[in-house]
Amino acid sequence: MFVQLLYLSCGALLMTAVLIVWRRPLTAIVKVLAVQGMALAALAGVLAARGHDAELAAIAAGVLALRGVALPLLLRRALAAGPAATGQSRETRPLVNVAASLLATAALVLLAYAVSGPLTALAPSPAAHAIPVGIAVMLTGFFVLVTRRRALSQLAGFLLMDNGITATGFLTGAGTGLVVELGVSLDVLLAVLVLQVLTSRMREAFGDTDLDELRELHD
C-alpha cells in the first residue's frame, strides 16, 4: 500500500516533468509546477508516515506550503505582471523544438535509469528503486533550463531541477535536513522575487523578456 502510494507520487513527478517540457503556455507550466510541488509533498508525506518520522512530516508540510502553494502563486503574479501583460504568455520558439526536446527527455530518462543502478544497489528498498525518477526529473529540469528562451520558463526548469534533487534526497533516505530544505526553497523564493522585479523593469525598458535580446545590453 505504502509502496503503491510512493510509486504513484513518483509517477506524478515524472508526468508533471514531461508536461512542463510539453506545454507551451506559461500559465499552464505554472499550474503544472504547483501539481508537482504537491506530488513532492505527497512523496515526503508517504515516507514520513511510513517511517513515523516527525521531522520528515514537517518537511513535507513545508514543501507543500512553499512549492505547492507559495511559489506558484508568486510565479503567477510575476506572469500577470510581466509576460502575460505584454502578450508573451507562451514559450514561442525554444532553442530545441518541442518534439525534439520530448525525445531528448526520453533519452535523458533512459540515461537516468542506466546510471542510477549503483545508487539503487546501495540499499535496495522500494524507495531506492524510485531513485531514477528523481534523477530523471533533475536532468529534465536541467534540459529545460538550457533550451528555453523565456526567463520564466527557465525558472520553471530551475524549479524542476530543484524538485528532482529534493526527491532524490528523500528517496535515498538520506533526507535533506530541514535547514537545507528551507534554505534551498528560500533562495528559490528570492530568485522568483528578483525575477519579478527584473521582468517588470525590463518590460518597462524593452517590453519583452526574451533572454536573447538581453545580449544587446552588452553594448
Partner: protein
Amino acid sequence: MNRVGIAGGVIQVLLVTGGAPLLAGVMRQVRARLEGRAGPGVGQPWRDLRKLLRKEPVTPAGTSELYRVAPLVLVATTAVAAAVAPFVTAASAIGPAADLFAVAALLAMGTATLALAAIDTGTPFGGMGASREVTIMALAEPTLLVSVFALSVRAGSTGLAAIVGATLHDPARVLSPGSLLAAVALGVVTIAETGRLPVDNPATHLELTMVHEAMTLEYAGPDLALVELASAMRLCVFLGLLASLFAPWGIAVSAAPLALAVGAAAFAVKVGLLGAGLAAAEVFMAKLRLFRVPELLAGSFLLALLAVTASWFLAA
C-alpha cells in the same frame, strides 16, 4: 476456441456493429447540449445509415475495383478486431489467433486500404487526405506498440486475454504508475487514430483542414454508409480497448447467459461513458495545426516509454 469464445465473439461483433452508431449519436448529442442546441437525438446516425443504404451507389470515372472493395475491407478489419478483442468475454472467438499487435495491425490495414482508395480517385483532396492520414498513423505506431509493451510487461504476454486476466486477478495493478502512464499514452493514440479533436475535426466542411473526411469525399450511398459505420466501429473498438485494458471489470469469464449479459451491459456502459467524456472534452479544444500533431505524438511516445521503464523499475 471454445463455447465462451464463440458466443462472446459473436456478441461482441453484433454489439460493436449495432452500438457504434449509437455511440456516435451519444457523442454528437453531448456536444449539441454543451453548445446549447437540442441535438438530433441518439438514433440519428442509424437514420443516416438507413437512408444511405437505400441511396444509389456511385462509381466515379476512372476508379478501380480497389475503390469499390475498400469499404468492405475497412468494415471487415474493424469487425475482426472487435471479434478478437476482450470486450464482453476474455476468451477470444478465433482461438489464439490474434494478440494486441494483430489488432493494431488489422486497424492499420483498414486505414491503409482507405488511403489507397482515396488515391485511386485521383482527386487532389483524396491524395491530401491519404497522405495526412498515413503520416499520422506512421507516427502513432511507436506509441501504440510501446504502450502495448508496457501493458504486456505486467502480464508477461501480449495476449489480450492474458493482460485482462492479470488485471482482473490483481486490480491494484491499475493504479501503478506504469499502467497510468500507458493509459494516457493509449488515450492520445486513440484520439490520433480515430481522427478526433485536436488531431482532426470530424465535423469540418473545409477540405483544406480535413484528414479523414477528405478521403471519403467521393463515396456515396451504401459505400459511404460502410465507411461511416466502419469509422464509428473503429472509435468504438479503441474506446473498448481502453476500457477493457484499464477497467476490465464485468468481463464474462464463463459462458453463462447471465455472465455474458452482464459483460455486454458493462461494456456498453463503459464505452458510453468514455465516449461522452471524450465528446465533452472536445468542446474545450481547438484543432491543432497539422505540424503540431507530431509534438502531441512525441509526447505520448515519451509517456509510453516512461510507462515501460516505470513498470520495470517501479514494479509495485
